[in-house]
Amino acid sequence: MASGPPGAGPLDAAAGPLGTAASGPLDAAPPGPSATADAASDDDPAGAAPVEPITAVPVRHPWRWVGVAVIGLLLAMAANSLVTNPRFEWDVVWDYLFSEQVLRGVWATVYLTVYAMAVGIVGGVLLAVLRLSPNPLLRGASWVYTWFFRGTPVMIQILFWGAIGSLYPRLSIGIPFGPEFVSGRANDLIPVLAAVVLGLGLNEAAYMAEIVRAGINSVDPGQVEAAHALGMGRLLTLRRIVLPQAMRVIIPPTGNETISMLKTTSLASVIAFTELLYAVQLIYARNFRTIPLLIVAGIWYLALTSVLSVGQYYLERHYDPGGRPSGGPSGFRLKGAAR
């Protein structure tokens, strides 16, 4: 790299693409590269003279090193505190991390997330379809639902469902103002699990509705026209043509919602549903080891969301239109047809 004539190589490479006429005479002096200027037009330039990679002194970034020093210092302080402050009680954390009570709470958090998201996704699709319906009554109903459930805190909604028994002590299914077919005490018909799932799920449905709606709107209207022109009805078109293509847009934010839901399930503790947070609360109510047990819960939440994040990464890569070259059944690309 240091010798004279080869050193001119990089300069040629830089001048070539610019197409300057001056590069010709400059090249003519050194023996090797002289061929490039003449041969470039009709021969493969790479074959005429080997192209040398650019070697330049990189720009220095002194502030990065300052940043590294500051962050390193903070990390060291944190680590020091974690190790030396006995009140973290790591032995207690370790004792309870895999205790049966905590594991049961972890399991409850997982299935609560699944149930609530199931209610949210099904409800969200329904609401989105209603919202895009030509019937103004259905559109309005969907809008009011979203307005209400997004406009009130989910904590209140959960508390509300938990306390439904005090509002309607008896629930029944029957003809309005007529005979009842099924009836019972509200607290029996809506156990605490159902109250939590309703509270979380109905709220989630309002958010999912917006996501599904965005997905449906992302599908090229030409796809719908083509389906209609073939004699396919509105619902058939939605189910067979629109929703499968909307998935590309719907799935990534749904992953985010699931991760968010996993953490939001901790609100179920307010109506004494024994999910992960309430499980550790029950324990520290007895032994007053509040910090270590909250750390236990934190570790589990972090572990679960990390697993979901990995899944999310693969899902997003799978549905990213530009991410994969394959035109497979789910990794399809809309470039040609959509725009």
């Binding site: 073939l230 058939l236 035109g327 399809f332 809309l334 040609g336």
Partner: protein
């Protein structure tokens, strides 16, 4: 007012439009268009962009509603039912049933992007016509063979060239055994060297006696294949007749001006 049959002396026209109007907000896309296409005929709609050709085509299978006038396909009023002099809007189900008998080919192909060529073709026969899947597949393969794409059955649209996509789209429309085919500028989105392969298939269809309405800028195709050429401008039919009359010897200034630019 009854359906326009001539007591069996002449066949019912496949498409009959009488003074059709269509307005988008303030823009009058169609201002009283009348048109008659007999079964087995090929009708080419030509004219500058914005002249209402595509709107008229979309009205024929009720993708657009008409605001005034009457439009019949095969003796049936499009989008409405007439009973004792009153018009009743058709239920979506009945609109869909009638559309199933009319094939449509779009400028931008509009193949279902998440389905292979074969799946695109069998979708409507299986879901709308309730054909057995195996029968539909067999027929779809024959149709693909016919449009010269027998080896691309499992390709997704994104993997096909524009010309190939449009040929699959034609096969998809034919799979419903339509009595009428509508083509909305089928070659306008194609690279010039791919236009021929699509026009060849349309020529073949015309030769077999398919009734076709073709919105096109391909004057050569219109001259060679069309039974009638309709020149539209500003939402009205300016001139209609045989290709020799309209393309060879246009009587109206506007037709002459248009043809002098495109020929």
């Amino acid at each position: 007012m009854t359906e326009p049959t001539d007591n069996g002396t002449r066949p019912v026209p496949m498409v009959l439009a009488e003074s059709v109007h269509r307005t988008f907000g303030r823009h009058q896309a169609l201002r009283g268009v009348s048109l008659r296409v007999e079964p087995g005929q090929v009708c080419c709609l030509i004219g500058p962009s914005g002249s209402g050709k595509t709107t008229l085509l979309r009205c024929v299978n009720h993708l657009e509603k008409i605001d005034a006038g009457r439009l019949w396909v095969d003796g049936e009023l499009v989008g409405y039912r007439e009973h004792k002099g009153k018009l009743y809007e058709l239920h979506e189900r009945d609109v869909a049933r009638r559309r199933a008998d009319i094939g449509m080919v779009f400028q931008r192909f509009n193949l279902f992007a998440h389905m292979t060529a074969l799946e695109n073709i069998i979708e409507a026969p299986v879901r709308v016509r309730r054909e057995r899947r195996a029968d539909a597949i067999e027929r779809a393969r024959a149709l693909l063979e016919r449009v010269g794409l027998g080896d691309r059955a499992d390709s997704y649209p994104a993997r096909l060239s524009g010309g190939q996509q449009q040929r699959v789209a034609i096969a998809r429309a034919l799979a419903m055994r339509p009595k009428l085919m509508l083509f909305d500028e089928p070659t306008s989105a194609l690279d010039p060297e791919l236009v021929g392969e699509v026009l060849d298939i349309m020529r073949g269809l015309a030769a077999e006696g398919m009734t076709m309405i073709v919105v096109t800028h391909e004057m050569g195709f219109a001259r060679e294949v069309a039974d009638t050429v309709v020149f539209m401008d500003g939402g009205v039919v300016v001139e209609a007749g045989s290709p020799a009359e309209v393309l060879g010897n246009p009587r109206h200034e506007r037709t002459q001006a248009f043809l002098s630019k495109v020929l």
